[in-house]
């Protein structure tokens, strides 16, 4: 394992500004919109080494998914810096301030950061094969044949060599998620982000997806995984990070963390999972 830093997160802050429709009662009293600000990330620092597998644990609302979405700039950070492979993603620095990057430059950087979503987000009008082929053609400018040559092994790798011509509507949740993984992997990313990849799956389908993720981890790709699967986290992680209320409260190697958790939040998370 090389020691170069793949992802560097420094003092990241993020606040969501929500405006919701007022209740009837509030409306009668003249309120037009209700604005609330929720600070979801309150200064997060994390360095991830190339080839490392990081698992982020935390209860819902702890900011773990938001942090993941900030890495490829699906969410815009308010303050701090995130470097992936030494480059800022979505920003350029001008006189110490962050300025939004041009869409084209951002897209090029995102292409090297794979992401797998909780709800798969497959393109519903495309077959399994074309879900993998389309981005290769659209983003990597491959010909259809070149893309096919790369897509089929990717689908075989996730065990779906026999489903290439199947539309998402005819696939199980586990199969959909494996197509989504193949789609992200075929882009040959240097970093893979997994946002609760098994949370939307029926319990009996979780195993097949976790098996595929383990396979990728062994191939040496840098991975950041947000999950609630404790046993899986323990097996796969090089390092576990525990988040609570927008900050990292504890991090360490899985054995130490599981056998000797120091932060009360970690203890609570672990006891809840062993009871469940």
């Amino acid at each position: 394992m090389s020691n170069s830093v793949a992802i560097s997160i420094q003092d990241v802050h993020k606040t969501f500004h929500l405006s919701t429709s007022p209740s009837l009662w509030q409306r009668l009293r003249g309120t037009k919109k209700v604005h609330t600000a929720v600070e979801v990330l309150k200064g997060v620092d994390l360095d991830i080494v190339s080839g490392e597998t990081i698992v982020i644990l935390g209860s819902s609302g702890s900011g773990k998914s938001t942090l993941l979405r900030c890495i490829n700039r699906l969410e815009r950070i308010d303050a701090g810096r995130i470097w992936v492979n030494g480059e800022l993603v979505g920003f350029v620095e001008k006189n110490g301030d962050l300025v939004d990057e041009r869409p084209r430059a951002l897209a090029a950087k995102r292409a090297s950061i794979g992401m797998v979503f909780q709800h798969f987000n497959l393109f519903l009008n495309k077959t399994a094969l074309n879900n993998v082929v389309a981005p290769l053609c659209a983003v990597k400018h491959m010909t259809h044949d070149q893309a096919r040559e790369r897509a089929i092994p990717a689908l075989e790798m996730v065990g779906l060599g026999d489903k290439v011509d199947t539309y998402p509507s005819k696939l199980s949740g586990g199969q959909k998620q494996r197509v989504a993984i193949a789609r992200a992997l075929a882009m040959d990313p240097s970093v893979m982000l997994f946002d609760e990849p098994t949370s939307a799956l029926d319990p009996e389908l979780v195993g097949e997806v976790l098996a595929v993720i383990k396979k990728i981890a062994h191939s040496g790709t840098t991975m950041v995984i947000v999950t609630h699967e404790m046993q899986f986290a323990r097996e796969i992680a090089d390092r576990i990070v525990v988040m609570d209320e927008g900050v990292i409260v504890e991090s360490g190697d899985p054995e130490t963390l599981f056998t000797n958790p120091s932060h009360p939040k970690t203890k609570a998370l672990l006891s809840r999972s062993s009871n469940g």
Partner: protein
Amino acid sequence: MDFINGVLSVFPALLGATPVVLQLAVGAMILALVGGLVLALARLSGNRIVRGIAIVYVEVFRGTPLLVQLVYIYFVLPSIGISIDPIPAGILGLGLNYAAYLSEVFRTSILSVESGQTEAALSLGYTPVKALWRIVIPQSFTVSLGPLGNYFIAMVKDTALTSVIAVMEILKTANSINSQTFQTTEIYTAAAILYLSISLPLSRLVVILEKKARSHE
């Protein structure tokens, strides 16, 4: 029997006017599709001015009768030096009017494509524009196909309105035959049957296309 023979005897003359109806409907539909998509994208734009212009357009064209718009284009525009022949004027009037309605179809169908797919496309390295054109819009067409088909059928029937701006379509042809023969009942019955025989197969076609487009859902 006389009545049926009377109806049949007018058909050839009216049939001669059908190509004009199809020309109007197809021409105006193309204009309306392009215009409607542009308006829908403008409505969804982040730019407040662009959005405002699209909203004003839609409100003006939906808020005034199509008949008035046609009359305006054909009889009023010449007074400021813009003279348009009857058929192009008809295509323009129908197209501009239907663009306003189609923009709403496009807008809602674009919004109906789940945002997760856009996020996935962005995460794979699509630019926002590319994600819109390659992922979102193709799928929105599946959703909008049914409504678009219905608007096309309505458009075929609305071509009758262009009779007031001197387009020799089915109704105007019927009017002119009527003024010579006074077989009013037979002539307009024949015209109604002709419209029906265009729109009924079209609505079947729309149903079939819609089913086909949704086959993989």
